[in-house]
Symmetry: C2
Subunit: 369 residues, 2 copies
């Protein structure tokens, strides 16, 4: 078990990124981490794609940092994504707030952040930017692209938009087009955020929010946390435990689950910028892999990579059948040999792909073998 | 098909209602409607219990009112709950805002509303008050008690607290104890409401809110509307239809489902008082039919009425298995002959009990026959 030799790197791009909306992003930069070593043939790269609130810090732990990267259980020496064998790249999506260009980045040539003048970006745009990063790193063929949730959407877009890039595509807990159910959860988050008076129509004090939070964004994140779990996982995690000190008949006395939501919701705006949140949610809402094609099947005609699609039994944000629909569409166009659906039996909910790694790590290891 | 002869009646009670919390409500009143005629034996009464945002107006249409009562499809001459045969009573729950005493009622002897000084009330308290209304109407034996959601909780409490009252109990889309999943949805609604600056810690201008709404309560209601539906019903109702006029790449352009949430959320605080909402949500959160007993089984030992329990396949607010657990508990204590579970195959979600009446009306008619 070697050291991952952690370091955040930043790639700067001076040329314009032409966006799906017709607008441009220029210049832009991408923050990323890599683990392992690129082999001489330059063909052992695995691109890992993070979810909405994730970052390029996917594995390992920084000194004095108690929390490891978000997929540390999956990525590392001897793990399913073995850094002794693969060169792993995880980039922060554009639009996010962890180092890649997003709405609070300075809008060149001024030093002021874009804020609401930032262009709407799409999952396709994120992938386009990541493709440029791979070019910069001298990688024209990747071994695999893998991601969950918004990261799964990116993995699928890689397979459709750059069919020659990767041998293998592993997409988990995602969909081919975001459903109204998920858009509805996002709606609560958007409205709660923008209606907080301290949001100031996007002109909020960035430092103050990092310090004190933003109640509206916290409430919006609570709705998110519901969609990440399931009734079953909440029963197990919280039950009906009551933690209010004034007794059950205190109007504002809290159950354990409410304390969890207060804590996790309240912290969120301190580490995740509210404008970035709005832009990434927008990207997710308008995500439809068949946009620009006649149908899902028509889009999938382009795929040359082997598609490994993972659905999680009680995922209530991106239902497993949405992943299965991709597999069915591949069958329909006679490409079943390139597609496989894996149904992971878990009642944890959407977050299974982050917290129940033991349920699918062996499958991932097998796929990569 | 006769006329229901609609009229809101109000019963006033001068004696104190002793609440589960140890506090009292004194005086109090209950608004109600009745349909049909009480027979000479005074034994043909059916008590209908409404859900959180429902009211005593369960059937028929008032002149100039486009909307019929909330269970009009089920109640009326020749319908499943046949008003030619039964005397139907529907009372507004205490704590609500449709005529029964609640947080915006004047706090005797002053004329000022209680607001946050209103005592926390429970489902048990609501039922206790309704029991007094039945006394007032000279009804000591009812033919049946029936309700859905919060109304199903009340029906179950009738069966446990007043076992000699009704021959039949029909509870739909409810539970025996509110789950953390549902408490989490309620949490979003509570926080969104109380953090709107116009809520003014409960001291808001009641008339102004009826006129202009309350954004926080509207956002909270959006979370509610998610929990009332299902991914499947949203796919069918809304799909991914986009209604924004500035195009897909407008950051705040809306999908059809978002317009639906804006419309229904936005209207809610205009017709449902935010404080009443908080109090009823509290009653639902702390609802546990076994409180005061050693177990669910122990509470159900008291039941003498025939229990008819309805669960709806895709109800994601009160899962069908929660209703089945009541049936299983009845079996466990050797009372299976008094209990029956009906699984209604519907993918509409929680609101099935309100909008898919055709899926269970015949069963209800059979039970009442």
């Amino acid at each position: 078990m070697g050291d991952l030799n952690l370091k955040t790197k930043t790639a700067q791009f001076k040329n314009a990124l032409y966006l799906e909306s017709g607008r441009i992003l220029e210049p832009f930069e991408i923050a990323y981490e890599t683990y392992g070593t690129l082999n001489e043939a330059r063909d052992n790269a695995i691109v890992v794609c993070h979810a909405l609130s994730g970052s390029h810090h996917a594995a390992g732990s920084y000194k004095n940092d108690k929390k490891a990267g978000w997929w540390d259980g999956l990525i590392g020496c001897g793990k399913a994504i073995d850094t002794d064998r693969f060169f792993v790249i995880c980039a922060n999506a554009i639009g996010s707030c962890h180092g890649s260009t997003g709405p609070i980045s300075p809008a060149y040539p001024r030093l002021e952040p874009y804020r609401l003048k930032f262009p709407v970006i799409t999952i396709k745009d994120m992938v386009k930017a990541e493709r440029l990063l791979l070019d910069r790193l001298g990688i024209s063929r990747a071994y695999a692209i893998i991601g969950g949730s918004m990261g799964g959407m990116r993995a699928l877009h890689f397979a459709v938009d750059y069919p020659a890039l990767a041998r293998l595509t592993i997409a988990m807990a995602a969909t081919h087009a975001t459903s109204p159910w998920t858009i509805a959860f996002n709606k609560v988050a958007i409205e709660a955020t923008i209606n907080d008076p301290s949001f100031e129509n996007g002109a909020y004090n960035i430092e103050a929010i990092r310090e004190r939070g933003l109640k509206g964004a916290a409430i919006g994140r609570m709705a998110g946390h519901i969609s990440f779990l399931s009734p079953e996982s909440m029963n197990r995690k919280f039950g009906r435990d009551f933690v209010g000190t004034e007794g059950l008949f205190d109007l504002f006395g809290r159950f354990q689950v409410e304390r969890y939501l207060d804590y996790n919701g309240g912290n969120f705006p301190r580490w995740f910028d509210p404008l970035s949140f709005l832009y990434l949610v927008k990207a997710i809402n308008i995500y439809d892999i068949s946009r620009g094609y006649d149908s899902l099947e028509n889009a999938l005609e382009r795929v040359k990579s082997r598609l490994h699609l993972f659905g999680f039994e009680r995922d209530l944000l991106f239902l497993p059948q949405e992943m299965r629909e991709i597999d069915l569409a591949m069958q329909k166009i006679g490409k079943s040999e390139l597609s496989r659906y894996y149904h992971i039996d878990s009642d944890y909910g959407h977050d299974s792909f982050l917290v129940e790694i033991n349920k699918f790590a062996d499958i991932v290891a097998d796929i990569l073998r």
